[in-house]
Assembly symmetry: D2
Homo-oligomer: 144 residues x 4
């Protein structure tokens, strides 16, 4: 019988928890893991005052960091150390203090060493805040 520890979803969870625990940069953003599985990750984050830019809206760099973390957890979910080659992000609507954002990453393709992942960032009203696409490159090492 397959236990949660050895199933695909169990591996994905262990890897993402390891990555989040060791990630000092995103740690102070209060990001939490809602769910994670092979090629998928859903993260949540509440917008705080110290995340705002000079226009009193969420800084694009913080939006990017949230989406990038979801991308990282999705593309490392098989415990193969995988890095970002490039990313694009489209900013659709502003997020404001108190908003609860959800970043949902899904694997669009994975062939050989390279993969494509789309991440949608939405607020508590399910309004689209940003749309992110990352291209990944898999190394030969495990994450943990």
């Amino acid at each position: 019988m397959e236990s949660a520890q050895t199933s695909a979803a169990g591996v994905a969870r262990k890897v993402s928890e390891y990555m989040l625990r060791h990630d000092r940069a995103s740690g102070h953003l209060g990001i939490t893991i809602e769910s994670v599985d092979e090629g998928h990750a859903v993260l949540a984050m509440t917008v705080r005052n110290d995340m705002l830019n000079g226009l009193d809206i969420l800084h694009g760099g913080v939006t990017f960091t949230l989406a990038d973390s979801a991308f990282a957890f999705a593309c490392n979910s098989r415990n193969r150390k995988t890095v970002a080659l490039n990313c694009t992000v489209s900013f659709v609507a502003a997020a404001r203090e108190g908003d609860v954002l959800t970043a949902t990453a899904r694997e669009v393709s994975l062939s050989g060493r390279t993969g494509i992942y789309d991440v949608s960032v939405r607020n508590q009203k399910d309004e689209l805040i940003a749309e992110f696409r990352g291209t990944s490159y898999g190394t030969s090492s495990p994450v943990i």
Copy 2:
């Protein structure tokens, strides 16, 4: 006689200083303005331990935030409030604790409301860390 306050470079400096002062998200990154002018901006940042990810290298979200700030200062430099439509970033090499990064933004084109800005992020050895391209959209409001 044109004073520093009213020259193009003077306006660019006043706007960027205003933006940096009110930007809580990038404020804690210790970003400094090296130079700024119409359509241009050069920023610097030292990589600290609390900016690293689980692999002990600079988090891509922090690299993005530095480049995005240089982009913002360059595209707002004429005191026209301008927002990012979308951005792409290519990660070329890893940055490590203690590295001093410089983000240099230049205006590739500006026609009507939309502009293109390229930002190169380099370390203290002039090695390319990341290459960023942002597309901007100008509103009808001033920044300050």
Copy 3:
């Protein structure tokens, strides 16, 4: 009672047929309209020998042109003349002579003048060939 000519889908079809008829560049590619509606378009194209590159696979420029046309029909579907600001395309797998490609465009967001459209290009086995994302900018003129 609303007729096909005045319904949203009817407008979308009339605009896309007009655009395809006047488009000399994509005309010789044998592109056909499978379906079109507000914010959506599905096109088909058969890969011919004269579309191949030096490696005997479909030229990326032809793949792009097919996806770009689907994007154009989707973002002009409300009869508002709309142009491309920028596009990204990821090449996932090679297409070969005789393959029948389908490009499916969907509207990810439309707010104010700017929109985001994703286009998937798949072959007759439903394998992903390329993934395209276009950012549009709406003018104040009608298409027809």
Copy 4:
């Protein structure tokens, strides 16, 4: 003494001429090689009536194809077979029938298997028409 056939520039020229000769898709566009060297390529093309879209301006797919060819010649210039992972293109100004376009590709970075190439497409007045960025992935095979 190094001959033109064995120098870096000579290899680049032989590879690009081979690629152009075997490329049926871009062959009919009348693209010519202005210059080519390690990591660089300059191509030219005159805009013909059969390259126009329904708005009587150059089709974005043709602009992309020209830039993509310059990218391909630059990234294959060392005779290592190299493919495109993804590309972005920003459309800056319209090109019209009779315009003579020049696509200039330069290597922004090359590390390991992946490279970044920027291609500027300009008209006979040196006005920017489009700005293209391609990410390449090198295989283990030679081109010729």
